[in-house]
């Protein structure tokens, strides 16, 4: 133990800058969290949710529905857009991100293990970054995977040769990549929101449901209010717009060059808020 005073300068001399140390710490936190996110017993729920769209699509791959739309290759992009919007984006990505990102801190408070991080020689902001990146990678891998596999499952089983041409020569690949990009952006936006909700609110289910309702009712909102939602910016990027029904209030989609930086900017602000919160956070498990 008396060697403690020697250890610090020795390590300091090996580390050329604080950034090196922070990167190393972010990596350590990232791998710990990744292991928890993917290999924990509780991860089964997130796998089930992530692969939810694949079950009906697998059945449809075997049994072709009788409706005419399903026999027309040109309708596939519209069907996928509806499926993506209704099931993948609004349900799987939304609730999956809620589960993953809320658990990053809230889960540790419930397990009473957050103090081990707080008792390590690591800036709490670094902790936020490490955990957020781990949540991001987890959600992106799972949900982008689902986005891609769902699209391929929809197209290929019944229209193999047309689909092959569509994805190699037509717009298929660019659409696939756009949907994958939107899913990633959704993980970034929803992730930051749920991370901060998990830090501020003891029962984060309620704000999650409120946001869910707000996002679903987005089509009814006046154009100005539409812009106070994640789904509006994500929908603006969708390659095949989906009809929102006869009661929808029509608003111009936000151009990608505004939607993308807006989402990232708000995410950054939310993450700064999370870092501030975690910087001032106390460990009082009894009251959490």
């Amino acid at each position: 133990m008396s060697a403690a005073t020697e250890v610090v300068p020795e390590r300091a001399s090996r580390l050329p800058s604080r950034w090196d140390l922070w990167l190393r710490q972010v990596a350590a936190i990232f791998w710990m969290e990744i292991e928890k996110n993917f290999l924990n017993r509780r991860s089964i729920l997130i796998y089930l949710l992530a692969f939810l769209p694949l079950f009906p699509l697998s059945i449809l791959a075997v049994v072709r529905p009788p409706a005419n739309e399903w026999r027309d290759f040109n309708q596939m992009s519209v069907i996928y857009s509806a499926l993506y919007n209704g099931l993948i984006l609004r349900t799987v990505v939304f609730f999956g991100s809620a589960w993953i990102f809320m658990n990053l801190f809230r889960g540790e408070l419930v397990d009473r293990s957050l103090h081990y991080y707080f008792l390590s020689a690591v800036r709490r902001e670094v902790l936020v970054v490490g955990k957020y990146i781990s949540g991001l990678v987890t959600s992106m891998v799972l949900f982008t995977g689902t986005t891609i596999i769902s699209m391929l499952l929809l197209y290929f089983p019944h229209f193999y040769s047309q689909s092959a041409r569509y994805f190699t020569e037509g717009r298929g690949l660019s659409q696939l990549l756009t949907y994958a990009g939107i899913t990633m952006l959704a993980c970034v936006g929803y992730g930051a929101f749920f991370l901060v909700v998990g830090l501020f609110i003891r029962n984060p289910i309620i704000p999650a449901l409120l946001l869910y309702g707000w996002e679903w009712l987005n089509f009814l909102l006046p154009p100005l209010l539409k812009k106070i939602s994640v789904i509006h910016y994500l929908n603006s990027l969708v390659p095949v717009p989906v009809s929102e029904g006869p009661f929808a209030v029509i608003a111009d989609p936000t151009p990608a060059y505004i939607a993308l930086p807006s989402m990232l900017g708000v995410t950054l602000i939310v993450l700064i808020l999370a870092a501030y919160r975690i910087r001032h956070m106390e460990i009082r498990y009894g009251s959490d």
Partner: protein, 316 residues
């Protein structure tokens, strides 16, 4: 006199949980060696420890450990290790993974983290169980693995909240020996306990806490001296305890005199031990009683605890 960067300093620190008092107006300077925080459950010991490690933030006042404020974890925990009372762990980890992963979070490289993990496991005798899941450990093993995690990065201040809880007598003795060894190496050890004979065995200094206040501090005899207004209890082994009781009870500094159950001794409570011993010498010289032995029966922490806090401190 130690410089501030060798001390743990509480400067007028108060902590309130809403309207509930945690600790109030704590002014404390802790020097290297083993310092025990003693007090009944709910006295504020854990609050003090959580405050000095930044897990709690003071409502008022400031705290520094070796000159480092508690809101700078990146510097603080290079020098400080804290073994809390929370008997919980990250899910699914083995003992080795538990220690190693947080050493990596500290910023150690993999090789050094692995070496330090092994050293820490050796120090708490858990090398053989290191690759088993912590969830399958006994309470004593969990206590030891948390201790290992707290000492693994070789801190110079070690804070231990009830560290002997759940340990069997043999491991308890080994752990106390480890604490002594660490203190001999120049570490600050701050240990909370309500098991008084253990505190007596290992502490250089005690800080008595009750209802959120520091009631007394110092070495055990120093604390006793702080309480001059409190009566001191002395057992006199003699042939005629009843006669001696009548003799001493007439003196104004004697508060109480009680014959021992075996009728061969007398408990006396006096506010002035020096005057009492002089008086006793006279009684012996006059041949009124024959005294076999005299012993202060309360010059230990338990008695101090009882005087100051008004409750028994419990036993091992």
């Amino acid at each position: 006199m130690s410089s501030p960067d060798q001390l743990i300093i509480f400067d007028n620190v108060s902590k309130f949980y809403g309207e509930i008092l945690g600790v109030n107006r704590v002014n404390l300077q802790i020097a290297p060696g083993i310092t025990s925080l003693v007090g009944p459950n709910g006295a504020g010991k854990s609050t003090l420890m959580n405050l000095m490690t930044g897990l709690l933030r003071p409502t008022r006042g400031t705290i520094s450990l070796l000159g480092i404020p508690t809101d700078q974890p990146e510097q603080l925990f290079r020098k400080v290790g804290y073994c809390t009372q929370f008997d919980s762990f990250p899910r699914g980890v083995t003992g080795r993974e538990f220690i190693n992963s947080f050493l990596l979070v500290h910023g150690f490289d993999r090789k050094r983290a692995s070496e330090l993990t092994h050293l820490a496991l050796e120090r708490v005798n858990l090398v053989e169980a290191a690759d088993r899941k912590v969830a399958g450990y006994s309470k004593g093993m969990r206590q030891r693995i948390r201790l290992a995690q707290a000492i693994a990065h070789e801190p110079s201040v070690l804070i231990l909240d009830e560290p002997l809880n759940g340990l069997d007598p043999m491991v308890r003795a080994e752990t106390i020996a480890l604490f002594r060894k660490l203190a001999a190496e120049g570490l600050h050890l701050i240990i909370s306990s309500h098991i008084l004979h253990e505190v007596d065995m290992m502490s250089d200094r005690v800080v008595l806490v009750n209802n959120g206040y520091i009631v007394a501090e110092g070495d055990i005899h120093g604390v006793r001296d702080e309480m001059e207004e409190h009566p001191m209890q002395i057992l006199i082994r003699c042939d005629q305890p009843a006669k001696l009781a009548a003799y001493v009870f007439a003196k104004d500094h004697v508060v109480e005199a009680k014959v021992h159950d075996d009728r061969r001794g007398l408990f006396v409570k006096t506010r002035d031990a020096d005057r009492f011993y002089l008086m006793l010498n006279r009684a012996v010289a006059e041949g009124d009683v024959s005294i076999e032995a005299i012993a202060p029966v309360d010059d230990d922490l338990s008695a101090v605890y009882q005087y100051l806090i008004g409750t028994s401190g419990g036993s091992a």
